[in-house]
């Protein structure tokens, strides 16, 4: 990943750590920490859609919040256009913030029920003081058009429009300040299948037309394969595998990724391959298993896996994986 020149990198996350203190279970019990994100590094290149996948509790959403500097990291850094945003002073950060926008799972919760759609889309312009009133209104109308919403939606209120339209409105509000990076946290999970397809196509079009970089967080591996150029797989706060989308799905290396892909219910009555069904649930990020974090559920775990933690190692073709089965040799050239 180092060979890509720095101009092409929008975000680079280095040794990022986020621990949350957890209340002790008993009155005089010792305090524990929840290791939500534990020493992860990755890059997001300009114009690409990076998918972050994993099960609930794997740290996907915490990673998103850290990348957006919504919560301070415990350690590590997030470089946005080569500037460490975790150390910026508030006024500089505010200017920087304009370049990174976000949308979340539940569009109804993200919209103010008492403000019309048009006014809400305009709000970022008001806050950052961009343009005069007429220009602002024009921008809103353009943004509505960009997300395939009709002009009369301007005066509607959130409860009057459908779930798919609401998500478009939220997207329009994020796009209106022309960000470089758009972080989407499960943006289509709350939508119906036929509407999901509409919104996914919209994402693809926007990426192509506006050249926006996407960080796309999802648990739906079908959508991720369809939409993303590159995929980062997380398990319990660690990156276990990272590769270009086509490579990840055709040459899956980590047993967890294999199980995840194998768990996808396919719309085909006959299954060609035997399904890998993992036992149990992901362990709690408070009481992590020793050694490899996946060892307690891994069908191929060896003795070494229970004692040592594997490093994320490049195996070639921009493919990185953290597993002793793949990286049998030494772990000195770890990234």
């Amino acid at each position: 990943m180092e060979e890509n020149n720095m101009e092409n990198t929008v975000v680079s996350v280095r040794k990022l750590v986020k621990y949350f203190p957890v209340k002790a279970e008993k009155l005089f019990g010792s305090r524990k920490t929840l290791k939500a994100v534990d020493n992860i590094s990755f890059d997001i290149y300009r114009g690409e859609i990076v998918g972050i996948v994993g099960e609930s509790g794997c740290g996907k959403s915490t990673t998103a919040k850290l990348v957006l500097n919504m919560i301070p990291p415990t350690a590590g850094s997030v470089l946005f256009n080569n500037k460490d945003i975790t150390k910026l002073n508030p006024s500089k950060w505010r200017a920087m913030r304009l370049n990174m926008q976000m949308i979340f799972q539940d569009p109804l919760g993200a919209l103010d029920p008492y403000v019309s759609i048009g006014k809400q889309i305009q709000e970022p312009l008001d806050i950052h003081n961009i343009g005069n009133l007429k220009e602002r209104k024009n921008k809103v109308l353009n943004a509505l058009d960009a997300v395939s919403m009709q002009k009369h939606m301007y005066d509607r209120y959130p409860h009057e429009i459908s779930g798919g339209q609401r998500q478009r409105a939220v997207l329009a509000r994020a796009l209106i300040v022309e960000p470089e990076l758009l972080v989407c946290d499960e943006p289509i999970s709350a939508l119906d299948v036929s509407i999901q397809a509409q919104v996914v196509n919209l994402f693809k079009r926007i990426q192509k037309e506006l050249g926006i970089t996407f960080m796309f967080i999802s648990h739906d591996l079908r959508i991720v394969k369809h939409l993303c150029n590159r995929v980062v797989v997380m398990y319990l706060g660690k990156i276990v595998e990272e590769a270009d989308s086509a490579e990840l799905y055709s040459n899956t290396l980590h047993p967890y990724t294999k199980a995840l892909i194998s768990s996808i219910p396919l719309p085909k009555p006959v299954r060609e391959k035997e399904r890998i069904i993992l036992e149990g649930d992901p362990p709690s990020p408070v009481d992590l298993p020793s050694g490899c974090r996946f060892s307690s559920r891994c069908p191929d775990a060896m003795e070494r896996c229970f004692n040592e933690e594997p490093e994320l190692i490049e195996t070639g073709d921009n493919h990185r994986v953290a597993c002793f089965l793949v990286n049998k040799g030494n772990h000195e050239n770890a990234l």
């Binding site: 099960e55 609930s56 459908s162 798919g164 119906d192 299948v193 036929s194 509407i195 999901q196 397809a197 509409q198 996914v200 196509n201 693809k204 648990h219 591996l221 079908r222 959508i223 394969k225 369809h226 939409l227 989308s245 086509a246 799905y249 199980a259 995840l260 194998s262 768990s263 996808i264 219910p265 396919l266 719309p267 085909k268 009555p269 006959v270 299954r271 399904r275 069904i277 993992l278 036992e279 649930d281 992901p282």
Partner: protein, 329 residues
Amino acid sequence: MLLSIRDLKVDFNVDGQVVRVLHGIDLDIEKGETLGLVGESGCGKSVTCMAAMRLLGERAKITGRVNFNGCNILKLSDRKMENIRGKDLAMIFQDPVVSLNPVMKIGTQINEVLKLHGNYTKEESKKIAVSLLKKVGIASAECRLNDYPHQLSGGLCQRVMIAMALAGKPKILIADEPTTALDVTVQAQILELLRELNNDLDMATILVTHDLGVIAENVSRVMVMYAGVVVEEASVEDLFSNPSHPYTVGLLESLPDMENEGKDLIPIEGVVPAPDKRPSGCCFQPRCKRRTDECIKAQPGLKVVGNKHRVACFNPVGSIDQGGGNGRK
């Protein structure tokens, strides 16, 4: 026939206005069969199940017949219905954590169900509870009896819900989106469990879901619902190899294909109509690419197009007299 529903209609009273949400559903399920109900939100999947269980309360007016073991359970007294509900007809829901009582131990909650179904002594019911938990694949079942729901993960809670549903040895298990709130790897576990139980216990299963992937691998027959009507019914193989209703085709096309990447998804434009704003004629007509004048005038009924394959459409996909892609005559 174990359960046969005929012309089931449900009206809701919303602020003095009567809104019809189910428009005459026919459904049959035989012993040991697995039936899938699929459709988007608001199409009436859950209401169908809740109406059959008589769980809709007083705001809903239910007409039609729900014949179970030869008697119409819609006509039964509340008392008699209580003997059937939970015992012969059991149901599990989408969110297991909400379905369980947060301030009661798992064991106590299972005991409550057992008390309704038979006279067991304390020891007996504990034994049964442990065997039920083991049946649904919960390790160290004895210890789990003393746990509260918040101490269990979502997958475990759903297993407990299934155990409680099995307590009355039901003849039909209705699973309403049982895995929607769970992670994919856990979803795979629960679906496998439901398949095994269906085989081992010889009970019929009705699986309600919006996910065609879940349907494909877990049921033998499928009913596709849209806006309160059944638009297509077929064996699972037929439905996926030979979908006939434009809505079914649309649903399949809007899923990303795992093998052919790069292909754009083909969404169904528009949204499901609200129950009080139904279009004239066929309910899918405003979103349909194959619409003709006929579709706007009249509502199509279910017609046989193949072996046990029925579809409610004037211009079904793959029919002999099809007029090209959009079928406009």
